[in-house]
Amino acid sequence: MEDALRDLYQEVILDHGKHPRNHRHPPEANRSARGYNPLCGDQVTVYLAADDSGCIQDVAFEGQGCAISIASASMMTEVLRGKTETEARRLFDDFHRLCTENDFTLDQAEAEDREALERLQVLSGVREFPVRVKCATLAWHAMTSALSGGGEATTE
């Protein structure tokens, strides 16, 4: 098996893909948005429970998709809890660069939570597979859409 594939389908990704964390609909969720990838028909719905100050108290998702999109959604829910809206958006910006820019390093990150970015780095193998970047970012697009008031986010 070639290295690029091994990088993409690392054990931790396969594990999150098969056993996604926070795959549920929290009753106290007050924001949600659906993410849709028209290319493959994958869809996830991201639920946020944010307090009055915009701090994310709980985050979860439901949906179906490929190993990459489900693992990414699962890992996203793990790193976003307790984050402010601003920090969540920064994390997405950094994560997006992680998935698309070959020379991006964590020194260039805007987000404060470096440990979160280090965990998300496992998904940076998608750099070698440009059509799969949309899979890795699907749940994140839905999350920012939910922060902005909901609706549907597509990867187009």
Partner: protein, 423 residues
């Protein structure tokens, strides 16, 4: 020009070759098949999406542009007349290919999608609220959405024939749906996902008995075997060049002369008129009435070359070769544990959709690509069918005349690697 021309010279155009089908020689006609992907030989199993082009087609298109390109139907000069003759000559080639009664029944379109939209707008122009159009669960979006748009415009009722477990059409349900209000049955000849070949002759006979007309989506059918529109008694039949080893952006709508004659134009513009004034415009007779604007000239010439190529090899030889591939692929893939084939109808084209337990088709596609294997993964522009099958997407291997049993083995080995990786 290689195999096609030699064969053509030996057996004459249009005849059905009885020569042994030599797939190794056929493969030499397709330059792209010599390519490598990710360091592996290309294993192209996505001809159902778009087929590769033989040198005969590539050369014909280049030759036009290098030696005699001009617009058609306009010029008084030599090139324009010469190319107009060749362009209209392809209409005759297509008419013979479909066994149409006349080349005036052949309308050039961009693709099947445009052909169906043409029928929906023009033939569907006379439909009123309560009139019924029947489609099936196995339609491509191209044969669903135009009818939904017509439903929104004219208030027609859209009826959908269900499929059986094996992916065949539920004929009894179809018969029961036919009513005096049925104006049109719009149905695929061969499912792009399931490979199911519908019993079109019988369907058309039943529809006609009920007083309905029939539009056949032949995108996947004209490729795999002989289509005879008169034997079928089809009212409309659409196919596209790029799945038939020809260029894209050229498609065909066959329509019975008596129907085309009564139909209003679809798109307005140059080339489709008899005379234009600001007060009144009169329209050209079919087929030109339905061909507004400068047509895809080079692509039409390419389509003619593709049909010549397919004719030279022979429908029977292609059908037999593909039937062998389908049988072997079905047998070989079924040996893979956890693999489910979607669509097992008795009458089936060389299209195999499948799922692997617990592994999303998108992941399958990425991994086998690294083995040089090109398959389609996703919903195949048939989301309602995916819902019927209860899957979000499938993987699909579709075979063409240049594929070999050893390529089936390459696919099977690549799928084993997918399973290894996912544990």
């Amino acid at each position: 020009m290689g195999f096609a021309t030699e064969t053509l010279a030996e057996i004459g155009p249009g005849s059905n070759s009885t020569l042994a089908f030599d797939v190794a020689r056929v493969r030499e006609d397709f330059p792209v098949l010599q390519q490598e992907v990710h360091g592996k030989p290309l294993t192209y199993l996505d001809s159902g999406a778009s087929a590769q082009k033989p040198r005969a087609v590539i050369d014909a298109m280049r030759e036009i542009q290098e030696t005699c390109y001009a617009n058609v139907h306009r010029g008084a000069y030599y090139f324009s007349q010469h190319l107009t003759d060749r362009y209209e000559g392809v209409r005759k080639t297509v008419a013979a290919f479909l066994n149409a009664a006349s080349d005036q029944e052949i309308v050039f379109t961009r693709n099947v999608t445009e052909a169906i939209n043409l029928v929906a707008h023009s033939f569907g122009n006379g439909f009123a609220a309560g009139d019924e159009v029947i489609i099936t669960e196995m339609e491509h979006h191209a044969n669903i959405v135009p009818w939904q748009l017509l439903r929104d415009r004219a208030g027609i009722t859209l009826k959908v024939v269900p499929i059986a477990e094996d992916g065949s059409l539920q004929m009894e349900a179809f018969e029961a749906m036919l009513s005096p209000r049925t104006r049109l049955v719009a149905m695929t000849h061969t499912s792009n996902v399931l490979g199911t070949v519908n019993p079109m002759k019988n369907i058309i006979r039943l529809a006609h008995k009920a007083g309905a007309r029939v539009l056949v989506d032949g995108a996947q059918s004209a490729v795999h075997g002989k289509v005879d529109v008169r034997e079928l008694d089809a009212d409309f039949y659409a196919f596209t060049g790029h799945k038939l080893y020809g260029p894209n952006a050229i498609g065909v709508l066959y329509g019975k002369a008596e129907l085309l004659k009564e139909m209003p134009p679809f798109l307005g513009g140059g080339d489709m008129i008899r005379s234009v004034s600001f007060a009144e415009t009169t329209f050209a007779d079919p087929p030109h009435r339905f061909e507004a604007g400068t047509p895809p000239i080079v692509e039409t010439i390419g389509l003619g070359a593709a049909i010549d190529y397919v004719n030279a090899i022979g429908h029977d030889a292609i059908a037999a070769h593909e039937a062998g591939l389908l049988a072997y692929a079905t047998e070989r893939l079924q040996q893979i544990e956890g693999l489910t084939i979607h669509g097992t109808a008795k009458d089936k084209a060389a299209i195999v959709s499948f799922s692997l337990d617990g592994i999303h088709p998108h992941d399958i596609g990425t991994i086998v690509d690294r083995e040089g294997v090109a398959i389609r993964v996703g919903h195949h522009c048939a989301q309602p069918l995916m819902a019927c099958l209860g899957v979000p997407a499938t993987a699909r291997a579709s075979f063409g005349l240049y594929n070999t049993p050893s390529e089936v083995d390459v696919l099977a080995r690549a799928l084993e690697k997918v399973k290894d990786l996912f544990g």
